[in-house]
Symmetry: C2
Subunit: 255 residues, 2 copies
DNA sequence: TCTAAAGCCTTACGTTACGTAAGGGTCAAG
DNA sequence: CTTGACCCTTACGTAACGTAAGGCTTTAGA
């Protein structure tokens, strides 16, 4: 036999009031009532509820949801497919936001001031395409990030100074290697690139080799980052990038 | 000169009314007013707005947001770190939902009926840990999925029958290989595993090698899937899994 | 068998985060 | 100097529940 409101509420993680509301507006009416008027939900009701909650989580209004779940052209499999597609879009958007944050963190390290236009860009239009490929590489590290976040949880102003000092040190080390005429593939350059990667990991987030590649690619691709590095020494942005690539592929091969 | 409401609204992708509202409740009051009483937003206001929108997107109430953004203990970098952490959690949750969908799609192919409890589980408690590692592998394919979805957009009941027939064929092929005493690493077994992977890709979503590994791992790990396969031939679940692994590592090495 | 806690009912007003006019100034361009 | 685009405040409307209030029902235990 069926489920009571309270049971359904517990199962689905919603309040009783919510179920009452869905009944009121006709979005989800229980299959039957007991003699005393208690709502009795059947399996099919729960199936419907699951769909409702799914679409709700994705930000649809109840009105939209009712047209979606009542659409006779969409069967169970169709719903699953649609839901999967919507989730993919949503994840993509959040990935773009992570991107934007990483970007700003980096900009901050180097005293590059972002204009409000740039900072608000991610909210403006929905252009999921833009960040797609690059973002994809980075979502992988959301897991390990949490741990690294705990490590760097509590530093303030003086730490900020040390951060800056360390960044300049790393940068100087790379510049020195370049000005000595060393190749990006040289031991010194790769070691400096590795120091750079660890610098990011220590102060910001767990910077994997893959992320490091994306980051240094940006140093070259983004005008402002490039000019900032090239101000220290012309060609430095590209040098860092290549050293990072060499370092990553070495790390990739010798395990 | 600063920005007018309309300009800010356009930049941030919100309505003017929203900005008025934020002004009303004291969440975001523009830095100044013109002689005629027009709101004039400064850069710092836009920075604040960006934070507000960020936390809003993540589901905080305006009240919560005002305590978050006004917290004097949190500086700019602190916000970035926090935002990144929140995004990571959110992505993890969506990943769990994708997991649940894939799981149900698979169950459906094999006529395994899920109980409502199982189907609602993902909404019940927030246990992001559970799905974490496995989900992580799968998010990667959100990109390619969209394309594959277009391909398989419009099939119905008779297709469903063909799907079932094809699934049984693939399964029979694997069972045959196993009963002939062939190793999972044999050409035949790997070819059958590859056929299985392509079957999933054709009917459901773009099944990469990595996803295929996760899927076949589940065939062994999940009681109901395992017993379903083992009903065809004892040990088949494990055989499929190993053939899939062999197939994936071969595909990985010969490019 | 009685009772108290736990669960359910309906009715109804409150709340959040805006949407949607209405009525009326402001400003740059033609 | 007027017209269209933009801004103001005031105020009621709405969606999706939250939060009682007042009153039956059911069930575990004395």
């Amino acid at each position: 036999m069926g489920y009571s409101v309270g049971q359904v509420a517990d199962l689905a993680g919603v309040t009783i009031r919510t179920l009452h509301h869905y009944d009121e507006v006709g979005l989800l009416s229980p299959g039957g009532r007991s003699a005393a008027g208690y709502r009795i939900y059947e399996e099919s009701d729960l199936e419907r509820l699951q769909r409702i909650l799914f679409y709700r989580e994705l930000g649809f209004t109840l009105e939209e949801i009712s047209t979606i779940v009542d659409d006779p052209r969409t069967d169970a499999l169709g719903h699953l497919r649609r839901q999967r597609g919507l989730l993919a879009e949503r994840i993509k958007r959040l990935g773009a936001m992570v991107e934007a944050i990483d970007y700003e963190m980096e900009a901050r390290t180097m005293d590059i001031r972002l204009t409000p236009e740039e900072r608000l860009e991610v909210f403006g239009e929905f252009r999921p395409e833009d960040y797609a490929e690059e973002a994809e590489q980075r979502w992988g590290e959301t897991e390990s990030y949490k741990e690294s976040r705990r490590r760097v949880a509590t530093y303030k102003k003086e730490d900020w100074q040390r951060l800056k000092a360390e960044e300049e040190e790393v940068r100087a080390r790379l510049a020195a290697a370049m000005e000595e005429g060393l190749a990006p593939e040289s031991e010194e350059a790769m070691a400096a690139a590795e120091a750079h990667r660890q610098h990011i990991s220590r102060w910001f987030y767990d910077c994997t080799y893959e992320i490091h590649l994306g980051l240094t690619d940006m140093y070259v691709g983004d005008e402002r980052f490039r000019s900032n590095y090239d101000a220290t020494a012309p060609g430095l942005a590209r040098f860092i990038r290549e050293a990072a690539h060499a370092n990553a592929s070495q790390a990739g091969t010798d395990r």
